[in-house]
């Protein structure tokens, strides 16, 4: 069973976000780049599936040169091969162009499953997975927290408001993976050493027939920080917690009108 895992490189979730000098992008100074946390569930699931059933895991990313670190991380955790489509700085947040690039990168490869994270943390679109599935014409299940894979079909649980959809699909299929699906492994030292010798297939985005400038479907006009909050009313409640609680509930009722 061959799995393709699509990963993206994002700022660490603990990053303080500052606006860059162009007013459209973040200031990348001091940002630590990590594999998008949801992609870790996708990779882990692919590794477990191929460990049980055989086959190979190919990690694919579309991003600038620094994104190779994300692929090396996937290889260190056990992915067999990697594909790096180089580009993507102009198309950050442009889900449709990203999906088109990935579809071209998948062209001609043999796979039973394509696994993506539920969303790329940061751009927060959660769109590339379903778009990619449509473009390569395979069924998909998004937001998966439970999965059983058979020889030619799968059964997945997908979280929706207040419930879980039970979905069955033939293979090949695409999944977007959500927290709760598995516990991602860390890379061991042996894996990190082995990753250095594993192949990374490098492709310039232009050679896929995509022009990042003219094919754009997402244009950032400006990026701003949220307005600062004014100082709140803080009650010292160590000595009289019950009195503080009564005062707070009174404020919520009569001042904030929130309850």
């Amino acid at each position: 069973m061959n799995c393709i895992v699509c990963v993206t490189s994002v700022p660490d979730t603990a990053s303080v976000i500052k606006i860059g000098p162009d007013g459209k992008n973040i200031d990348e100074t001091g940002i630590k780049w990590i594999v998008s946390p949801f992609d870790e569930y996708a990779l882990e699931e692919a590794l477990q599936i191929t460990e049980a059933k055989g086959g190979e895991v190919t990690a694919v990313t579309y991003g600038p040169a620094r994104s190779e670190a994300a692929l090396r991380d996937c290889l260190a955790r056990g992915a067999h091969k990697a594909v790096h489509v180089i580009g993507g700085e102009a198309t950050l947040g442009d889900s449709f162009t990203i999906a088109k690039v990935l579809a071209k990168a998948l062209d001609g490869r043999e796979y039973d499953l394509v696994l993506c994270g539920n969303m790329g943390v940061g751009t927060d679109c959660a769109q590339v997975g379903p778009m990619l599935a449509e473009l390569v014409d395979i069924p998909h299940v998004a937001n998966v927290t439970k999965l059983e894979v058979g020889d030619d079909s799968l059964s997945a649980g997908r979280d929706v408001e207040g419930g879980q959809e039970q979905v069955e699909s033939p293979l090949p299929a695409l999944l977007t993976c959500q927290k709760g699906l598995n516990e991602p492994r860390y890379a061991a030292l042996k894996g990190i050493m082995a990753a250095k010798r594993k192949p990374v297939d490098k492709i310039e985005v232009a050679t896929l027939g995509i022009d990042e400038a003219t094919d754009s479907t997402y244009n950032v006009r400006s990026l701003e920080l949220p307005p600062p909050k004014s100082e709140g009313t803080i009650i010292q409640g160590e000595d009289d917690p019950a009195g503080a609680a009564a005062q707070l509930v009174n404020l919520l009722r009569n001042e904030a009108k929130a309850i």
Binding site: V121, Q127, E134, Q166, K179, T217, N219
Partner: protein
């Protein structure tokens, strides 16, 4: 401009509030030129009612094979409606269904999509949208770089639903070619009667300060007294104290309720990103220097085990 088509979501024939919000916003943006596409099985009676929120036409796909959601089945219906209505934009409510369907439909139409939009304005013949990025640590103002139609999903509970008192012409969508490969076999109720944090107007969240899973009972009591949902920090979820569906934060749910109570949550940047757009934020924490107090509208510095029980009593008194 040639109007807006709105995908309207229902569950067991009940129209989702977030969809009514989407129709209302479409009506505010496009006046009378709003159509809805309504998909399901045995839902014909509810279709005409969408006129009351501003839909002039309702494209109805009523088919037993569409009883439960599938991107392929519902997407085929939306694509057919797009063919008929030739809209300038297609709106979706940003629910679990909408966030799945919108990108799939966009790809089918060969166009881009803007997700999780919280404000819209027109610039010539295209919409300019404001959307939170980095889980609300920043806001981006974006457009679709001229790609048409514009596919846009609207964050629930941000846009107002308002009745316009209009009526709608219902048009049946015929000749759908339904080739559904990923089939929803069942929709399990995993909520156990609890309100989902993604839909809640009031959320009470607990974190590491609870010291153990059993103490979520305190959080649950306050949530019940307030008629709200139970949330949790990543620390509490990662410790295995509560299921991930309760997690609020950058790798959990991003919420904006009218009241958010954080108890025993210090306010890691990861958590703040998921709830900082709540209207009123209340913090209860022992540590006066906890970052959560910096964004709190109200707070109590004190031990949550001493503060929460009397809060529950005070709230119950209000309810009489």
């Amino acid at each position: 401009m040639a109007g807006i088509l709105v995908f309207v979501e229902q569950r067991n024939g009940d129209i989702r509030q977030a969809s009514l919000q989407a129709i209302s916003e479409a009506h505010r943006q496009a006046g009378g030129d709003v159509a809805a596409v309504f998909v399901g099985s045995g839902i014909g009676d509810a279709a005409a009612g969408l006129g009351a929120y501003g839909a002039a036409r309702v494209f109805l796909a009523d088919d037993p094979n569409l009883a439960l959601y599938s991107s392929e089945g519902y997407g085929e219906a939306v694509a057919k409606a797009v063919e008929s209505a030739a809209p300038n934009a297609v709106f979706f409510a940003g629910t679990a269904m909408g966030r799945d369907l919108a990108p799939w439909v966009a790809a089918k139409l060969g166009t881009g999509a803007l997700a999780d939009v919280v404000a819209l304005e027109k610039d010539g013949d295209q919409f300019v949208a404001r959307r939170p990025v980095y889980s609300g640590k920043a806001f981006a103002t974006v457009d679709s770089a001229g790609s048409k139609p514009q596919v846009i999903s609207l964050r629930p509970n941000v846009f107002a639903a308002e009745e316009t008192g209009g009526s709608a012409e219902v048009v049946a969508l015929d000749g759908l070619s339904l080739a559904i490969r990923a089939v929803v076999k069942d929709l399990l109720d995993t909520g156990g009667g609890e309100i989902d944090v993604a839909e809640a107007d009031i959320i009470v969240s607990g974190g590491r300060g609870l010291k153990g899973p059993e103490n979520f009972a305190l959080i649950r009591e306050l949530a019940q007294a307030l008629g709200g949902a139970v949330g949790a920090s990543r620390a509490a979820v990662d410790a295995g104290w509560i299921a991930h569906k309760h997690q609020v934060g950058q790798t959990g749910k991003v919420v904006s309720p009218s009241l958010y109570v954080a108890a025993g949550i210090s306010g890691a940047i990861q958590h703040l990103a998921g709830m900082s757009s709540s209207k009123i934020i209340v913090a209860v924490n022992k540590d006066p220097d906890a970052p959560i107090f910096k964004i709190a509208d109200y707070g109590i510095v004190g031990d949550l085990f001493d503060v929460i029980p009397p809060m529950v009593e005070e709230v119950k008194k209000l309810a009489g």
